[in-house]
Symmetry: C2
Subunit: 581 residues, 2 copies
């Protein structure tokens, strides 16, 4: 078995620190260990480098066909024909110093991650020379469905999710694609896991005869409109202390983050894939009613593993805090399990239970109970829906605009601008050293001051280059989070629109005997319930938005003030060194 | 005569406010007045516009050839074949907001203005759309030599001097040209007006048997080295109050500046051409010993006449102040005449006298008298000369470097940078108006603050765009002045080097009987005198340089501090409008 060779079918770029081996399409590699498991094989390339390669990426050459084990991969691949990894030329160009380049590609894929079984947009370029790159770095993985997944977590890897077809789309384009799909495709996205859905859509809930299962989700009348039930204590958590673990006798490594909820203050450990599992559970369960932003882009990688881990941790923190702030999400069983499982047994049991949860998709609306709120007529339901649709689209545009502008500014602040200040600084210092060579006595004060002024501009160059990390970074992160959130609305709103259309058809359905008059009344009432859920969600969105933008603008401007004050102070000092004669 | 037509030979762009008419090569115009005089004719174009056109730019079509008058122009033009105005494509591109673009072309032509009789680099592009342009805007004019010039000032115009062949050269290139010519061409530049010079060079002075004529110029031993005799009172003057005058019955207009010396406080009026006359007198008289910077570039024109006049006035002020500060120049008869002539008669008499001055060129050294200073040996003379040469070249490089960097910075500050701040401001305001459309009550504080923050960044955009005029401008003006001054040194130093070479040949000349031993001793003594003059000039240069750079750096940094403080203050105010919740 050990001298077997394999042909590489797709480019694969190793992730740093994971004992992986980068391979190129067409390359021939030698299998050194076919029994690694978890979809990996160990192989050696022509340069003698040894590492792990996903078995789906290669075709093993062997004398006797159809033996057991890894060669099944070559069969499966025929299924993926339409999902061949993008050629290198279509990959987004990476920007040396610009973590925001990635924003153009990561926000729109929200719902599209979980339903395809394809190798997607693998990173084919060299990654070592760029700080951040946005090309997809995916492994082929079939979505296995909640029931099919077993508990053998160790057989999988940390960074597995493909980023969907949006990985290569630009900000504007991606948004357009998303929008285009909001009406039609959103149904398949959030709901098509239920047998018979394709015929039923939101009527699964509208016409459901089952009693509601699971925790009731009340909606109350608040001052500004319908509101979720908010807990007395605002949950939060700290994501920290990333640690490297290994598995498969040290062949594969992974990063485990410590998550400490403010309630128990007892830390639990989770790998990225656990967050991903949580994301999928939340999306399944609440996606029709609540925008569940996708996890921080898996394709963001740092030049160094540390950078990558730090960036991912920061974004996981943001994502978790946002989830903690949501009254429905944070109080859900699955979220509580994630944050405060007692032990491995507890976790496994909870995990199985969550995966068997049937109150998912549009059925979540069956648990929503407007408390003391009058039924809304369809016109009002539709108006509210339209209003939210308009607003979220407009905000999506505004946020993307700010991200674009911020990205440009980031580039200028880390590129040409500091270079220019540096050149000014050098020109002053250069003049100073020319003056020093004059042979004229008694100009030391001038030349010293001129040198100091030059150095000051070099300092300013550095300050300018480093400033974006201190202020623009958070403005960008917040807007990026909102871009992700807003990217979910077309789908969420699509569910509501589909329901409204169904209710509009109710008379016809009664006339053709497909539903009863009583069912028609139920549908209308349920559309009203859906609307209350949407309104409560919008109020939640607005209050958070106001809080977030107040906070981030304050933070941004505070840092900007400090920045300009520091420059002024430095220049004042430089000024003081010149003499008045 | 009145219905005569003419063919335009070269593009000519009218200067604003001068009753001139822009014409294009190949255009046919109708002569409306051929007897305007001063090298001008009045003509009408096909659109019926009437104005003055230089007669050398057109060829008058008439039945009888070789009549008297303007048609001589068509003959003269054959002399100018090698100086045909540059086609539009070779003209430097103009920068909308950048007066420094012109620096690249105006400094090196110091000595090259006065000896050519050619139409040079006429501005062929449209001038109305650019604030500053650096293409040459010259009229053909023959240099007439001091004796040939009569007193009919009114027949001439204000902006007549061609800028020489450097008009289109870049900073670096221009410098190189200048340097290349420093050793060889400097002789012809400063000295070739004396009959027989081509054979004699600096030996005109070294071997002169005439007694010195004119005011003695003593050089004393100062603390830092040989120094000129400085007056007790530092002369200065104010150039102000430009007024438009007309001549030729209102057909031509000119600008007269009021020059008020601080000594008499009695203003005199001078047109640009008078300054130019002064420059030529000073150059003739002192150019071998003292760098006489050329006048502010005549080719700088503003989008509006006012801008142009203001810029020219500012630079004339700078030039005059620099001349006032020079002890030799400021105390000279010609300079005193210019600053404080009593009446027209006094002026005309002084003018004639100055033009007949024979102590010009290298003969100026005959008036220099080192007081109580020992004769220097040739090695020391040569070392000093080499040292000054090295220093002035190095400083020339440093100054040009700073100008290049400053020019870049000016472009960025007036171009992309404020645009970016504006876009940031717009993005904030845009987000604010989206938020306003949310339908959610109670976010007025946020949206107002966000709008204010947006407007603040728009204000900052404007501040950034306007700042260069408040600080970089003076830094650039000072360095531009120094670039002009430093451009004179290669010629001045060239005279000294040629003298040194001559003295080195002295033994051979004695051996071949061309000079006597006594003459050899005289030559050596005179080279020592020249060296004292050069050293005194360098000390003058150094003290002024130290003063100027101290002052301009203080001014620059002070304004920069104010600028950054004002931005910080504006942002602090914007910050205060967000609420902490």
């Amino acid at each position: 078995m050990d001298s077997k060779t394999a042909q590489v079918l797709y480019d694969f770029t190793a992730e740093p620190g994971n004992n992986e081996l980068s391979v190129r399409e067409g390359e021939t590699i030698t299998i050194t260990n076919q029994n690694v498991g978890g979809g990996w094989i160990e192989a050696k390339n022509s340069r003698g480098e040894v590492g792990l390669v996903p078995e789906d990426y290669i075709e093993i050459k062997q004398a006797q066909p159809f033996t057991s084990g890894g060669n099944a991969a070559s069969l499966d691949l025929s299924l993926f024909d339409s999902h061949i990894p993008a050629p290198p030329s279509t990959a987004q160009t990476s920007n040396g110093n610009d973590p925001w380049a990635v924003f153009d590609s990561n926000a729109s894929g929200g719902f599209s991650n979980n339903w395809a079984a394809q190798p997607e947009g693998t990173e084919t370029g060299e990654t070592s020379s760029s700080a951040w790159h946005s090309g997809g770095h995916g492994h082929p993985q079939a979505y296995q469905g909640p029931g099919a997944e077993d508990d053998e977590w160790d057989e999988e890897w940390d960074d597995v999710k493909s980023s969907g077809g949006y990985a290569e789309s630009e900000a504007g384009e991606g948004g357009a694609i998303h929008r285009g799909g909001a009406h039609g495709s959103s149904m398949k996205i959030a709901l098509n896991k239920f047998p018979g859905f394709s015929k039923s859509g939101p009527e699964l809930y509208l016409l459901s005869k089952q009693p509601a299962k699971g925790t009731r989700l009340p909606v109350y009348g608040g001052e500004a409109g319908p509101v979720w039930a908010y807990p007395d204590y605002q949950l939060d958590c700290v994501v920290a202390d990333p640690k490297k673990g290994t598995k498969m006798y040290g062949l594969k490594s992974y990063i485990e983050y410590q998550v400490t909820p403010t309630t128990t203050n007892k830390p639990v450990n989770h790998r990225y894939k656990h967050f991903d599992w949580l994301y999928e559970r939340l999306l399944d369960k609440y996606g029709s009613a609540i925008p569940i932003p996708c996890l921080p882009d898996k394709q963001v990688t740092g030049r160094f593993e540390e950078e990558f881990i730090k960036m991912r941790m920061e974004r996981l923190q943001g994502w978790m805090s946002r989830m903690c702030r949501h009254p429905v999400v944070s109080s859900s069983e699955v979220f509580q399990l994630f944050l405060s499982y007692k032990d491995e047994k507890d976790w496994k049991m909870g995990k199985r239970k969550a995966e068997k949860d049937e109150t998912v998709g549009v059925m979540i609306f069956s648990t929503i109970e407007p408390e003391g709120l009058p039924d809304l007529d369809l016109i009002e339901v539709e108006q509210k829906c339209e209003q939210f649709n308009r607003f979220t689209r407009a905000m999506d545009d505004g946020v993307k605009d700010l991200l674009t502008v911020g990205n440009e500014h980031w580039k200028r602040c880390t590129g040409p601008l500091p270079k220019e200040y540096q050149r000014i600084g050098k020109a002053f210092q250069n003049l100073s050293s020319v003056f020093n060579s004059s042979g004229y006595e008694g100009e030391a004060t001038l030349t010293d001051a001129l040198t100091a002024a030059g150095k000051t501009y070099e300092d300013i160059a550095q300050m300018v280059a480093e400033q974006p990390k201190k202020d623009l970074h958070f403005l960008m992160e917040t807007n990026n989070e909102y871009k992700g959130l807003l990217g979910c609305f077309p789908d969420t709103i699509g569910v509501h629109k589909a329901a409204i259309e169904k209710v509009k058809e109710a008379d016809k359905l009664v006339a053709t005997g497909k539903i009863t008059t009583s069912e028609k009344i139920t549908m209308s009432k349920r559309a009203s319930t859906m609307s209350y859920a949407l309104q409560a969600e919008m109020i939640h969105f607005h209050t958070n938005r106001i809080y977030d933008y107040n906070r981030v603008m304050q933070q941004y401007l505070e840092q900007q003030v400090k920045f300009y004050e520091m420059i002024a102070e430095k220049l004042r000092h430089a000024h003081s060194q010149f003499t008045t004669m």
